[in-house]
Symmetry: C2
Subunit: 481 residues, 2 copies
């Protein structure tokens, strides 16, 4: 008898699989106000670990955390023309406070460049105050017409970095440093997601930026997800808010700025990159629970599970003990697979007698160890070998997820020469590479009619181009979330 699938299979309906997984793995619920979400503990645990990993990289890049208000006077937004044009349609507006109508309505921040600059202009006086490197962890609101949990939500959580520098070159280098050494490093190394670093075209730039750097990843269905962006703002906001400094030469100069953000959308990226038809697969370096020790039944198994749990924790593994022997074992096994815990350690009656456990890998390399251990990579392991073996198994899982992510992108990327070919590749769930000289802004505009877009420009050698029109630039075309 074939069991009913736990989730809608990805091949049948990817968006429905995504929603199924989020519900059944208890990651999030839709909020009562359209487009908002409730992040449940297991989903929030993923975000918390992302925060820890990103925060330490941001601090290593010299930025300090601060906090700016949620409410921004409406008039601030209008000071930078492109910025207000970009964000006006998405604003939530507070008109009443404390039981009275407000004299000036305030907007709920969609991003904080304007209010940050209001204060930077007070804090920055001389070249000695530069660079000023600030980050904040916060919620923002952008009214969303086609919401999807984690990917597009009216309210989302993020970090937003805001910096001011004495020169264009410094600001450029800092935006690139965040792009490469904070974001790309974190996404590849911790999330196990293969990302393509590139430059946004003028049409896709952040509202108010002179240059937007992006990281694009291919999801399980071949669509692209923008994973994070780092912007050079030039002097656009500095002009609007008079953010100036006294230079070493005694002249008043505008500061050069950057801003950069990564959001709870990354949780969606992890799901859509690594999830399979049994559920989520969490990369071990991200996982709040790297291994779950499951007592199948009986008090003796519970005692043993706790003992093993304590031993693994002492060995530096993030471990949880599942001692709910009143819940059928099969249901618990399915649940841990749904939640994507990298390793499951099962303790049954026979194991107790023999001093063994059954180690089940959630991520199986068909060519590697455990791949020959039967379905799901099960193998019997001696208890006293666990603490030595587990770090190896976790490392293999981490590497395997990144390998699968990279192989997917490579195998589904094609070289094309026309808009039509690019649109066709994108429609089939692939990425198209086309010389930007052949596509150009007109071709880019035409892609919209095919629900595709230029995700980014890449230089001939794979690096990030210094301008849209650098010779040899290649445009990466795909459908995107």
């Amino acid at each position: 008898m074939k069991k009913a699938p736990v989730l809608t299979p990805r091949a049948d309906d990817f968006p429905r699989w995504y929603q199924d997984l989020i519900n059944k793995a208890e990651l999030a619920d839709n909020g009562p106000v359209r487009g908002t979400m409730v992040i449940r503990p297991y989903g929030y645990g993923l975000w918390e670990r992302m925060q820890q990993e990103l925060d330490s990289r941001i601090k290593a890049a010299g930025a300090q955390n601060a906090y700016f208000p949620l409410f921004i006077p409406q008039s601030y937004l209008t000071r930078e023309a492109q910025h207000v044009e970009g964000f006006a349609p998405e604003l939530a507006v507070v008109t009443h406070g404390g039981g009275r109508e407000l004299e000036e309505p305030v907007v709920v921040r969609p991003t904080s460049e304007t209010i940050v600059n209001e204060y930077f202009s007070k804090w920055v006086q001389s070249y000695r105050d530069l660079p000023l490197l600030i980050n904040q962890w916060a919620n923002v609101v952008r009214w969303e017409m086609r919401p999807r949990v984690f990917l597009r939500t009216t309210e989302f959580l993020w970090q937003e970095g805001h910096t001011a520098h004495a020169s264009k070159a410094e600001a450029h280098d800092y935006a690139a440093h965040i792009h490469r050494n904070v974001y790309a490093d974190f996404m590849v190394d911790v999330l196990g997601i293969d990302v393509v670093p590139g430059r946004k075209t003028a049409a896709e730039r952040f509202a108010g930026a002179i240059n937007t750097l992006t990281l694009e990843a291919m999801m399980g269905d071949g669509k692209a997800l923008q994973m994070g962006t780092s912007h050079e703002l030039g002097t656009n906001f500095a002009k609007a808010f008079h953010t100036e400094y006294l230079s070493k030469d005694g002249t008043q100069e505008l500061v050069w700025q950057t801003s950069w953000g990564a959001t709870t959308r990354l949780v969606g990226g992890v799901i859509m990159s690594h999830g399979d038809d049994s559920g989520l697969r969490v990369p071990p370096r991200l996982a709040a629970v790297q291994a779950v020790v499951v007592a199948i039944k009986g008090d003796e198994a519970v005692t043993k599970a706790r003992e093993i749990g304590a031993r693994l924790e002492a060995a530096g593994i993030r471990v949880r003990v599942d001692d709910r022997t009143d819940v059928p074992f099969g249901r618990r096994a399915v649940d841990w697979e749904l939640k994507g815990v990298p390793v499951r350690i099962e303790i049954g009656p026979r194991d107790l007698a023999e001093g063994t456990v059954v180690l089940v890998r959630r991520v199986v390399d068909p060519h590697g160890p455990g791949g020959s251990g039967g379905p799901g990579g099960k193998e019997s392991v001696r208890v006293d070998e666990l603490a030595r073996l587990l770090p190896v198994v976790l490392e293999e899982a981490q590497n395997q997820l990144l390998r699968e992510s990279r192989e997917r992108r490579e195998s589904r990327t094609s070289e094309v020469r026309t808009v039509g070919e690019a649109a066709e590749v994108a429609a089939a769930g692939g990425w198209a590479r086309i010389p930007w000289a052949l596509l150009g802004p007109e071709g880019e505009a035409a892609l919209a009619g095919h629900s595709a877009s230029v995700r980014c420009l890449i230089a001939e050698d794979g690096s990030v181009p210094e301008s849209d029109d650098a010779p040899g630039n290649v445009a990466l075309v795909a459908r995107a979330y």
Copy 2:
């Protein structure tokens, strides 16, 4: 020649001293929307450390972090009658989103009991789902008519815990556990602030609670600050949102709930508890920077400062190196005193020759070591003794701050028998203890005319009373922030 004071002396004008300190130590600025604040990096660093310490205690109490939406449908608030009565006057209301007027206005959360219960009622089915222990770190908005930075702000940051239990006794015990083992432990042990745990009178309870536990601390001017509260909600919200579970006996039962919060107000509490006329004094366990190594002048001093900084960091001290030799030393010394870094290590030309440094304690015990070391507790110390000495000096500073906080409260608390006497003690910057049987709700109401209030009720033996009218209850009366 007497130097002009860096801050308005506390004895002259305490509120102005507070505002001066916040400006000059670069802790926060007022935000552009009335009552909001910008928390600057040094102030946010204090909050970040509070978050770390509170979060680990909250997790040890079994609660998991999650995230609920900022926007709550207005109709939710009205479901619990007392709750809406308490919060309606303080609400911020969003009427427009995405360029259109909303069909139902949404409120910006002033607290999350209502929206949390909407989801608890979905997540809780059977007794197996209990207890449900959730915490969230978030911003909330309560429109503030008389704002003061950190203490009363229209938007503030906090954690709010929300739990559901199978019985009244369990909920009671959990609220008490948070009160004692999370909040009081953190405030005394990390913040070095003496707190009085007590029970709020019916008049001072949280809107919707059946019991509110509080922690009250005496500030430098003798006024009280409510440092955190833990509420028993009974079944009030469970009734309004139908949060029910199937009991072991097969009956449908309402859950019993708690909620509890601590906010950025605690930063204000640290300032007003420990600050002196030279600035802030940060308790070492809280301090993001426990020791600053200051190179007075010259490259050699900078090299030595970095070397000492690295050595102390390796010894587990949170250290910063001040190598800004282009800024006059005196100005930097004043700045570190303003910022209240517990220990300053100065390296001058003579020190380099002699292998010593000057160790300056920010917190001096007049009867303890360093107290005889001259003004400000300065002493010459051999470089190779620093790593051994510093943990001792930091521990002494931590203990001294708590001792001062406790001695202040004890020396300024008086036993009284009438409303008039209580009001007099409060007006003079003290706390009055009066038998609740003598004061009662009428006396409590009369205190308002004297700008004083009952901060909490305490049992005869100093414990937290189980009811307002337990025999022997003592009311603690004070003016409060």
